[in-house]
Symmetry: C2
Subunit: 205 residues, 2 copies
DNA sequence: TGAAATATGTCAATAACACTGACATAAACC
DNA sequence: GGTTTATGTCAGTGTTATTGACATATTTCA
């Protein structure tokens, strides 16, 4: 990420670097989380994307493979309900995965209309590779002290976080969720995101 | 969501309903978070989608409008870097938003090559509507006691969560991040997600 | 048993969102 | 004045999704 913040921003963002993100009173406490969720998810799906590209698969294939791997015997209907797509969309990617021997279908025993889905050895292997990179990111986000996730709120002030109380520290989960999502972002880009969000915080002050 | 879990699952999922999600020792502590992130994000973008559809806009329009609204004066290059798309992709949606008077471009003052982006009144209004529904979800996720977000870890056991310690309660942020994401899921579907994930937990036990 | 509902599969057309590659213009930089 | 930078645009393509219609096998139930 190469946001030329120092050039384009008003120019006084120097010490904000490592400061915690602070919300001005004009905003809801969850506003930062909305953007952090976007950035976290962006990087979260970026890891597997690189692996999938080598196999000629996309995110849709990943989602199917993931859920079939983790919930063996899943039916088509269940999968459709999880993924929230149409059966036509599912069929396209499922066909790929079956033809290339990553997933197999078995006729249901109690209800022979159902097609129970299972991963083959190949499928399990790929699913494992994919979940590994994602687990690594999540685990690091939960564990790395530098990422500040350990500064979990000590349960003081459990009374909601709805009002615009503008505090920057622990209030009932805000901070830990915020830190978790921030830590999910690619390390080299975390500073850029902090810088960007600090820019908004300042302009609204 | 209408996963017919009771029908299709082995049939013994009765008391799991309100239980906290428990990870078997064979898995990484972040494994649940991977799926929760998927479900949370799915519902998170679902709210604005419904509004956007009424305007004939999609998610791409939303993202552009959101960032321009919150960071007025953003340049094209900055936006491209935030969204991680090509300028061709950006231009398609940006053109829509400009033509329909949601966003305006102003030539940069210090660098006249730049096009600084700003929301019009219309743009701010729509962006406000969109952020409102998302803030509502996030705020509720942070505040609602029934969602269990208040059971934030009391900073006991700060020593990472990397090992497969299989505990279900507070260890350095795991629970609060998990509860936050779970609370982000559409309430009526939370039970279904819990049921699904419990299904895996059981089978691996 | 036979009609209705269910689970799945498939054909066809379309849309949203992304990509690559190539090329053009204006302004800044040196 | 030549190079780089910021932006815009044309053309073609790919992935993922959609709607609508229809087909098949199986289960359910009256």
């Amino acid at each position: 990420m190469t946001l030329p913040a120092t050039e384009n921003a008003p120019a006084e963002n120097t010490a904000v670097e490592n400061a915690a993100i602070e919300s001005p009173a004009t905003e809801s406490p969850g506003d930062d989380l909305i953007e952090l969720l976007f950035f976290a998810y962006r990087d979260f799906v970026g890891d597997p994307d690189r692996i999938l590209a080598q196999y000629g698969f996309g995110r849709a294939h990943h989602r199917v493979l993931h859920f079939v791997d983790r919930y063996p015997g899943l039916t088509i209907a269940e999968l459709l309900d999880i993924l929230r797509i149409t059966k036509q969309s599912l069929n396209r990617v499922l066909k790929d995965l079956i033809e290339q021997d990553y997933i197999v279908q078995k006729t249901g025993t109690s209800d022979r209309r159902q097609r129970l889905l299972f991963c083959t050895e190949r499928g399990t292997a790929l699913a494992g590779d994919l979940i590994r990179v994602q687990t690594r990111r999540v685990t690091r986000a939960l564990a790395d002290p530098e990422d500040g996730i350990l500064e979990v709120g000590t349960s003081e002030d459990k009374s909601s976080a709805s009002g615009a109380s503008s505090g920057k520290s622990s209030e009932g989960g805000t901070v830990s969720a915020q830190n978790f999502l921030l830590a999910m972002i690619e390390p080299e880009e975390r500073a850029t995101v902090r810088r960007l969000m600090a820019r908004r915080a300042r302009s609204a002050a």
